[in-house]
């Protein structure tokens, strides 16, 4: 439990650090929010008045404390562009992105496990070579391009999945998420396969696998019941790191498939210089990543008793 309290404390500190970083970016940019909103035609008096109303002419420390205090109350300020509360806008967009990311991870694992199993059954064999080819391709193919190719070869000719947009009914939403999720998953799976493959092969050379092997247990059985449970830990840690990549993947793919999530929103907001929204989105994603990696850390401890006793 002591380890848990320490981890929680670290996560909170890290999140506070994130707020500082986001705030620093905003200040260091030296941009004039009033000018950004009103445009170059506005008079200096109007710009000053707006800046005063937004509070950006106050001392920096006060601004930062206001920002953090607002955050604690769940208040991220108002959008420069639409005037609506940032938290409300983000709450409308987040479910789309969250479903997309979860579905992407599910699909990537569905790709990873069977592919890696076939590859490690016979290292250097045909299945291993094919999976390596997939790893190379998945690493270098840009996700936005893959998304477009999927639209071209699946969505348009078959009409099975929509080429873009997000309907209101749940089953339509699921269908709208399939192709984007596959796109993100193909970017995630290669590193998962590499990580799992090397951990799995290492486990196969260990004494606790040698022992049942000498008793005559078959390869597939050895792989799944003896070696696999001990190879999962690196994969779990990797998934935590990948949460951040998946977030970036989602940002790109949402734009390709016109999904109304925080990624598509982020690009629009960025082009409007709508800093409260951009910062709110960045913070939201950063918080989620910190929480996910803390959770993965806890999960790794549950999976491996050695880590528990080490603390």
């Amino acid at each position: 439990m002591k380890g848990f309290a320490k981890k929680t404390g670290q996560a909170v500190l890290l999140m506070l650090g994130c707020t500082l970083l986001v705030f620093a970016i905003q200040v260091l940019s030296g941009r004039d929010p009033g000018r950004a909103i009103l445009g170059t035609q506005a008079t200096q008096t109007a710009v000053d008045a707006l800046n005063h109303r937004l509070g950006v002419d106050q001392p920096l420390l006060g601004q930062y404390l206001d920002f953090v205090a607002g955050l604690a109350r769940g208040d991220l300020g108002l959008s420069f562009y639409s005037g609506a509360p940032v938290t409300e806008i983000l709450a409308g967009r987040a479910p789309v992105t969250a479903s997309l990311i979860v579905l992407s991870f599910v699909i990537s694992l569905v790709i990873t496990f069977p592919t890696t199993l076939l590859a490690v059954r016979n290292p250097g064999g045909p299945a291993d070579v094919i999976s390596r080819g997939f790893v190379l391709a998945g690493t270098v193919i840009p996700s936005f391009w893959l998304g477009i190719l999927l639209i071209l070869v699946i969505a348009l000719p078959t009409g099975l999945f929509p080429a873009g947009g997000y309907p209101d009914d749940p089953s339509g939403q699921l269908r709208a998420l399939v192709l984007p999720a596959i796109t993100v998953a193909v970017g995630l799976a290669p590193v998962q396969i590499r990580t799992l493959r090397s951990a799995w092969l290492r486990a196969m050379r260990s004494p606790y696998v040698e022992a049942p092997r000498s008793r005559g247990v078959g390869t597939t059985r050895l792989l799944i019941s003896h070696a696999l449970p001990n190879s999962l830990n690196p994969l779990v840690s990797l998934l935590a790191v990948q949460a951040g990549w998946a977030a970036f993947g989602a940002v790109i793919v949402e734009n390709t498939f016109r999904l109304p999530g925080i990624g598509q929103g982020l690009i629009v907001d960025a082009s409007h210089s709508d800093f409260p929204l951009v910062n709110g989105t960045t913070l939201l994603l950063a918080f989620v990543v910190v929480l996910v990696s803390s959770a993965a850390d806890g999960l790794a401890r549950l999976l491996d008793p050695r880590l528990r006793s080490a603390q």
């Binding site: 890290l14 650090g17 994130c18 970083l21 986001v22 970016i25 905003q26 940019s29 941009r31 190379l136 391709a137 690493t139 270098v140 193919i141 840009p142 996700s143 936005f144 391009w145 477009i148 190719l149 639209i151 071209l152 348009l156 949460a243 951040g244 990549w245 977030a247 970036f248 940002v251 790109i252 734009n255 390709t256 982020l266 690009i267 907001d269 960025a270 082009s271 210089s273 800093f275 951009v278 910062n279 989105t281 960045t282 994603l285 950063a286 990543v289 910190v290 990696s293």
Partner: protein, 254 residues
């Protein structure tokens, strides 16, 4: 091999490009691939083949520059942390944790949103995000190398600390950094293309692969090659860099 080909392309691209990549021919818009335009023309009647070839001139140098800036910042900070240790080191490493806690490229987007798109913004934001990996890598290497006997020998010979660092520690610690650098250029290529695709990277009308994919997407149903050609270039260059990076890593281990 592939990388060499692309590097060559970046140098001679404009010479072998059959047409002016910026030259518009509004009468010949969206032409099918033909003998005069091997990959057809885009919405402004610009020759796609020429644009795809010349784009190597923008993507490759910008990405190498981006990786170089990250590497320089990271190496200086990593050397400082690894060598001085103590408070400096602890501070730099915590700062690194902080940057890494962010979904890296979301931070890049946030930075570009604030700085405004363009090459300087790309270099600055890539460096702000990318230095951490270099710093950590070099720091570990320095901590390993400095315990070696030849470093002690250098000290005993009466050589000053800065000289030992630059002349004796760095050369022995730099090899893994080199392998990572090639990988970093590859990631930079993919990221730059993605950012340009989103409209936050290289701005049109400059020929850039990500931008071209975005422009071609509008005409996907009728003119798929407008999108396919630049995407294939990104994947091809990425693959070349990936293979070089992997073979460098393997050689290090051997």
């Amino acid at each position: 091999m592939i990388v060499g080909l692309f590097a060559l392309l970046a140098v001679v691209g404009p010479v072998i490009a059959p047409m002016d990549p910026m030259g518009q021919d509004l009468a010949g818009r969206l032409a099918q691939p033909s003998a005069s335009h091997l990959l057809g023309t885009d919405a402004f009647g610009r020759d796609v083949l020429s644009r795809v070839l010349v784009a190597a001139r923008i993507d490759l140098p910008v990405c190498i520059a981006a990786a170089l800036v990250s590497a320089l910042v990271g190496l200086v900070l990593g050397a400082a942390g690894g060598y001085l240790g103590g408070v400096v080191d602890a501070f730099l490493m915590r700062l690194g944790d902080l940057v890494m806690a962010f979904p890296t490229y979301v931070l890049v987007i946030a930075l570009i949103a604030v700085i405004g798109p363009g090459v300087p913004a790309i270099l600055v934001s890539f460096a702000l995000v990318g230095w951490v990996s270099y710093a950590r890598l070099l720091r570990e290497e320095i901590r390993r190398v400095r315990r070696e006997d030849y470093i002690t020998a250098a000290y005993l010979a009466g050589i000053g600390r800065p000289t030992v660092l630059v002349r004796h520690v760095l050369p022995n610690a730099i090899r893994p950094v080199l392998a990572y650098f090639v990988m970093d250029v590859m990631f930079a290529i993919l990221t730059l293309a993605a950012l340009s695709y989103l409209g936050l990277g290289i701005q049109p009308p400059s020929p850039e692969w990500g931008t071209m994919v975005a422009e071609g997407q509008t005409f996907l149903q009728t003119h798929w090659w407008l999108t396919a050609a630049p995407g294939a270039m990104i994947a091809g260059l990425g693959l070349g860099l990936l293979l070089v990076g992997e073979s460098l890593e393997r050689r290090l281990k051997a």
